[in-house]
Amino acid sequence: MSRQWRRMLPARRVAWLVAVLVLLAVPLYVSSSWLRVGEFVMIGAVGAIGLTLLTGQAGQLSLGTPFFMLVGGTAYCVLAGRSTGLTDGDLVSLGWPPLLAVVAAVLIAAGFGLAFAPVAGRVEGIYLAVATLSLVYLGLYLGQSLSQLTGGTSSGRTPEALSVFGFGLTDDEPEISLLGVPMRDEERMWYLFLAFTVVAYLLAQGAIKGRPGRSWRAVRDNSAAAGVMGVPVARVRAEVFAISSAYAGLAGVMTVHWFGLLKADESEFSGSWSITVAIGFLAMVIIGGMGSVPGAVLGACVVNGLPLVLQLLLPQSSLLRGLLSGDAGFTPVVLTAFVYGAAIILVVLFEPGGLAALGRRAAKTVSSSKSTPQKASVT
């Protein structure tokens, strides 16, 4: 990381610092309902970064993200849960320190990913996509039948608040304020999620630029050739699947905190762990540009951000109200689905590199128009 930082152009360094400062300052100026939009985008970003490593970098198409999210979310609730004896009936709660539970939940999700590796190592491409679809159905069944872990479909279970040494990261305890702005649950959750997302982002970028990324791309482009070059193909495939599952596990932990609830899905096509969510994550990765980490974040802004933004703008904009209200049933969710469905089609037809490629091209145009033409730099 530090090497990358030193190699960076000064202008880019400044841009990064500004971006981080702006993100840090957001809770001081923005109301909590808008913070929740940002937090939901960050959930999508973490999951999509994991998926873009798997699908874009290593070439394994997966629809299994929601299953590993469910695993992560459930593991956190079970490990960190404290049994109160009264309300929760027969829920299994182990009472671990919450932060340890987060780490363990991520590792458990990775372990489930590793357990799926024998399948992921044997089947490729579309076959793998459909094979991972079976995980969503497995999650649906297990979520419903293991209700002492997941809380079941009717009431669900509340995740234990995340805190470090008595300092709440997702609730109001103890009360503090920053620059005169009280730091309540949403503000704290913003910083927590921001930390998760930044760590996820940097780790992914580091892996892509380093040896792991090279072996993923080698396996993606030609697994037989990669094997001949000495890349242990089966192990690399299993590794990247486990890593991607770990990302999904973290996204799952974030999801249960965001909702303040863990709940098993009632059907395979609606809910937090459903096929719809799986398609949504795939859409983020495609729209952003396969294999691009910044692209995954942009994709998350579109797919996860847009419906919530539309919902919030609804009372303020008469244009939106005219479009979205009434009996026609154009809800923000439907409108977003149209947008990202169309975006997928346009990306595949016209710009297979997605938003990331558009961004790179725009940056190139700007820099070449500003400075005198130089020899192309080697990247």
Binding site: S134, Y137, L138, S145, A224, V333, V334, A337
Partner: protein, 292 residues
């Protein structure tokens, strides 16, 4: 024993419908190399047209309209999108169909709103007894119609010029083009046929006896079993699609009875996983050969 027989007949009836879906899926895959994620949307499109035209046209007129609409929808996807991206990778094309699927699904679900219409045939529900085995009439009709269509398809595939050109193109696209087969026409006809099969399937999918759910998002999800069905048999094998459909139908029926109803959906996918681990390209699928 009677329960078992009953389950087998019912499962085969479901299997025949799934086989129609899987067959369309395989036909598209063989002709264009595209895994069509929008198959569920074609199903919904057909169903929606049946629902919308049922009052003026009557059941059979509406059914014909629905089948035509699904076929036209498939043709439209092929002409407008797939045929313009010949050079794209198969995976990219699959993703393209996901985009189409998202839009069509949301639009039809929006149009249906709170309506969840059953597309039951007008002759009503009845239980037919065949020597101690009680069979739902709907399932029996599904079995008969499915079998007739599948047999007709295989006869056409084997003995007509269309079938020959389909097979030739799947074998070797360039060579068949050099022999005077019009690739684009063959491809378009493949999508047309697949759409029509999906249009037939929905007439049975969205009924009380089959799924207990009217035309809705659930129908779309139900149509997704075309995936496991096609994959169990092998994505590029038409016979495999029929076998896969039957395996899926029977798995659903047996597991719902002997294990639990909730488990039956997952059971289908578990069977598919097992098949994939043992034979990664399906039972009748061609094994991929890697050359370096």
């Amino acid at each position: 024993m009677t329960t078992f027989l009953q389950l087998t007949v019912n499962g085969a009836g479901r299997g025949a419908v799934y086989a129609l879906l899987a067959l369309g899926f395989v036909v598209i895959f063989r002709a264009t190399g595209v895994v069509n994620f929008a198959h569920g949307s074609l199903v919904l499109l057909g169903g929606y047209v049946v629902f919308a035209t049922r009052d003026p046209l009557g059941y059979f007129g509406a059914a014909a309209a629905g089948i035509l609409a699904a076929a036209a929808g498939a043709l439209l996807i092929e002409r407008m999108l797939i045929s313009r991206t010949r050079l794209a990778e198969p995976i990219a094309l699959a993703l393209l169909t996901i985009g189409v699927d998202v839009i069509v699904l949301e639009e039809i679900v929006r149009r249906l709103g709170t309506d969840l219409p059953f597309l039951n045939a007008p002759f009503g529900e009845a239980v037919i007894r065949l020597g101690g085995v009680a069979v739902l009439r709907e399932q029996l009709v599904a079995l008969v119609v499915g079998t007739v269509i599948i047999v007709a398809f295989f006869l056409a595939f084997r003995y007509t010029g269309w079938g020959l050109s389909m097979r030739a193109q799947a074998e070797n696209r360039e060579a068949s083009a050099l022999m005077g087969i019009r690739n684009s026409r063959v491809t378009a006809s493949a999508w047309l046929v697949a759409g029509a099969l999906a249009g037939v399937a929905v007439l049975f999918l969205a009924t009380q006896d089959f799924s207990g759910a009217g035309l809705s998002r659930a129908t779309h999800a139900l149509a997704l079993v075309a995936f496991p069905a096609a994959i169990i048999g092998g994505l590029d094998s038409t016979a495999g699609a029929v076998l896969g459909g039957l395996v899926v139908g029977l798995t659903e029926a047996y597991s719902a009875e002997y294990i639990s109803f909730d488990f039956s959906k997952s059971a289908v996918y578990l069977v598919m996983l097992i098949v994939l681990v043992v034979v990664p390209s399906g039972i009748f699928g061609t094994r991929e050969v890697h050359r370096v």
